[in-house]
């Protein structure tokens, strides 16, 4: 199926996978990533997992109002961050993508400031938790409305194309998002325009509680690319290297003027949909346990261990370090001032309109 890592074949029936559960490299081409990058990928997956766990604790203790955990999605998310050119390309992620934006370089302090609605949030605590964003890193600030970020993603890509900037857009979303009209309108436009954009579907086969087979009659998401005249790739989303190689090829194809692609990473959602959800209502413990056997972290860790690049000791050291970082950040945030009341009135327009100024004055006295 895979002739050459430079040339994956679209509309494959079995998901592309490059490393086995046991952590062996199974692809017909050599892995050409540097040891450092391989280790970084794993460390970021691990950090993302720990971040997720920390978020859940913060939520339970009342310091976050909400969390949508990404555990099970790390491989796809971290791979995406490595597939693009940091600072050049643009990301249009969705709410479950803090693993991706972290791996791209979004500073932990900014992440934690956003999810806790802190004064230090670069977006001025204007949104609920789970809205990654960075002007510096070209991470578009999404809205909570599912799939609504995809038309803007395509617009940015068209701008890149007509101005020949050599940039690429990567936008991600869940399987549920593919049912929205906005997904269709946008990806269809991208196909017609040959815009440099990679569509990454993190397909966990659930939209909150709704099963994939209620979501669409299609056999999978990748095949939907046929409707738009672009290649669609089915990838084992628990295999970070498979995700990386496929996404990287799509990104570089887009940059080379070969147009957009759709990548379906078959992931698993280990947690409930969010802290507001109780997934025991609609799925069993057994299902969940089975999923966890395919944990993307385990697979990559075994791969590294097989190569002698990682050990129990490294694991423990790294965990300690990252948890320490989290704690330091949480302490910093605890000392931040409250979000000013008057921020409520800013940034509706470039300059405050008179009626808003009046409302502000009236409210603040």
């Amino acid at each position: 199926m895979i002739a050459d890592k430079q040339n994956f074949s679209p509309f494959n029936e079995e998901p592309i996978s490059l490393i086995s559960q046991a952590g062996e490299w199974t692809a017909p081409f050599a892995c050409d990533l540097k040891d450092e990058q391989l280790k970084t990928m794993y460390q970021q997956m691990l950090a993302a997992r720990l971040m997720d766990e920390r978020f859940i604790k913060l939520q339970r203790s009342g310091k976050m109002s909400f969390v949508a955990p990404h555990s099970g999605h790390e491989a796809a998310q971290i791979a995406a961050a490595h597939a693009v050119r940091v600072g050049t390309d643009w990301l249009f992620p969705y709410y479950r993508d803090y693993g991706m934006t972290y791996a791209l370089g979004e500073p932990l302090i900014e992440i934690f400031a956003q999810v806790t609605g802190s004064r230090l949030d670069t977006a001025k605590a204007r949104q609920m938790p789970m809205h990654p964003s960075s002007k510096e890193l070209n991470i578009f600030t999404g809205a909570s409305a599912i799939a609504s970020h995809i038309p803007p993603a395509v617009g940015a890509a068209i701008s890149m194309k007509i101005r020949e900037t050599g940039q690429v857009v990567l936008t991600s979303f869940g399987d549920g998002a593919t049912s929205e009209g906005d997904f269709h309108a946008a990806i269809n436009y991208a196909g017609a325009q040959g815009a440099p954009v990679v569509f990454l579907c993190e397909n966990n086969r659930l939209a909150i509680s709704v099963d994939f087979n209620k979501q669409t009659g299609a056999e999978n998401i990748a095949i939907k690319a046929k409707a738009y005249g672009m290649p669609g790739y089915l990838v084992d989303g628990m295999d970070v290297l498979a995700c990386y190689y496929v996404l990287q090829e799509c990104v570089e194809n887009a940059r080379a003027g070969l147009g957009p692609s759709l990548v379906e990473a078959q992931v698993q959602r280990f947690g409930a949909h969010s802290s507001a959800d109780d997934d025991s209502i609609y799925r069993s413990k057994e299902e969940l346990e089975q999923m966890r056997q395919r944990d993307p972290l385990l697979r990559m860790r075994r791969f590294l261990e097989n190569q002698g690049l990682w050990s129990e000791r490294d694991e423990n050291l790294f965990k300690k370090e990252i948890l320490g970082e989290f704690q330091a950040i949480i302490d910093t945030l605890a000392e931040a001032e409250k979000v000013p009341l008057e921020w409520m009135f800013d940034d509706v327009y470039a300059e405050m309109l008179p009626h808003i100024a009046e409302q502000k004055k009236d409210f603040l006295g």
């Binding site: 909570s144 009209g181 979501q215």
Partner: protein, 323 residues
């Protein structure tokens, strides 16, 4: 004693029992029972053909409801949050609202679109909005926004039995905040377009609806402590709205404060205020004052402050009384 959200689920069950054409549809309304549990128990009782999980598309939900209604069902569609009605807004405006008119009355769509609305739940701008202006300004839609369990029962029944599309807004921050006895009668209905006088008074009229009734009631209590007697009106229904009662009561006291949490400009209360001035100008002892959300997107950090709370209401009352 039951809460608003429990009342929604029980009322749906009663209506589905009564009329087998009534079906429920939306995102997560099936096994999950809705993200707020407003459809809890229905899937087990009525099965997947009458309690349908849909794909994640509000256009599909509202649009398919139109087709179902035209074909003879009585769909009750859930939009998970009122903020998410917009991807399906064209179906509501171009299909549901105009069907009877454009077909010369030959087709109609008896359907209900339920949606939890309103702020104060730390939801940021996509889990807090009150889009009723958009519905009320669309001829062909009826719009309801109760604030108590009993009204929820009575109005939801009326909406389901109505021959036209009804947008049924539910005050999500009150979902579990109030408990009350709800009439048992399976035919207990409340007519659309009739306001409820929650409290009579002599000094001024407070008018509100939906989630903001809670803050309005608090303000009225506070006023009572200050020996100011407020009449409190809950509009309950916004299209049609009870102009008659409003004009009569406001004319009697000459002073009115209007409370509603959507943004100020073209808030539903703009209409109420304009009507009051046009029809009973000479009875007014003070200008009607609107206490509303601000003309900003719904914020996150200032989730509570955005709302027209008791303090802001009291300041407006003071102005109206001192005018």
């Amino acid at each position: 004693m039951q809460t608003i959200v429990q009342t929604v689920a029980r009322t749906l069950a009663e209506e589905m029992q009564r009329d087998e054409r009534v079906v429920v549809m939306g995102e997560d309304v099936g096994k999950r029972g809705g993200v707020f549990l407003a459809t809890e128990g229905l899937f087990d009782k009525f099965g997947p053909d009458r309690v349908m999980d849909t794909p994640l598309s509000e256009a599909a939900i509202i649009g398919a409801a139109v087709g179902m209604a035209v074909h003879g069902l009585r769909p009750v569609a859930e939009i998970q949050f009122a903020d998410y009605v917009f991807p399906g807004f064209d179906q509501l405006v171009s299909q549901a609202a105009k069907l009877r008119y454009r077909s010369g009355g030959t087709f109609n769509a008896p359907m209900v679109v339920r949606m939890p609305a309103g702020g104060g739940v730390k939801g940021g701008h996509h889990h807090s909005q009150n889009p009723e202006t958009h519905f009320v300004h669309t001829p062909g839609l009826k719009v309801v926004y109760p604030s108590t369990p009993s009204d929820t029962k009575g109005l939801l029944k009326t909406a389901i039995r109505d021959e036209d599309p009804v947008v049924f807004m539910e005050p999500k921050r009150l979902y579990r905040a109030i408990k009350e006895e709800v009439p048992d009668d399976p035919d207990f209905t409340v007519p659309l377009g009739k306001a409820k006088i929650r409290q009579t008074g002599d000094d001024l009229v407070l008018i509100s609806y939906g989630g903001s009734m809670a803050e309005t009631a608090k303000a009225a209590e506070e006023l009572a402590k200050q020996q100011i007697s407020a009449e409190v009106i809950d509009l309950r229904s916004l299209m049609p709205w009870d102009k008659e009662t409003v004009l009569e009561r406001v004319a009697r006291l000459g002073r009115v404060v209007l409370v509603s949490e959507s943004p100020y400009t073209l808030n539903f209360m703009s209409e109420v205020s304009a009507c009051i001035c046009e029809e009973i100008l000479d009875s007014l002892l003070a200008p009607p004052l609107r206490v509303t959300g601000f003309d900003t997107p719904y914020p996150y950090a200032q989730d509570r402050e955005y709302l027209p709370g008791p303090n802001r209401i009291l300041r407006a009352v003071q102005k109206v009384l001192e005018y």
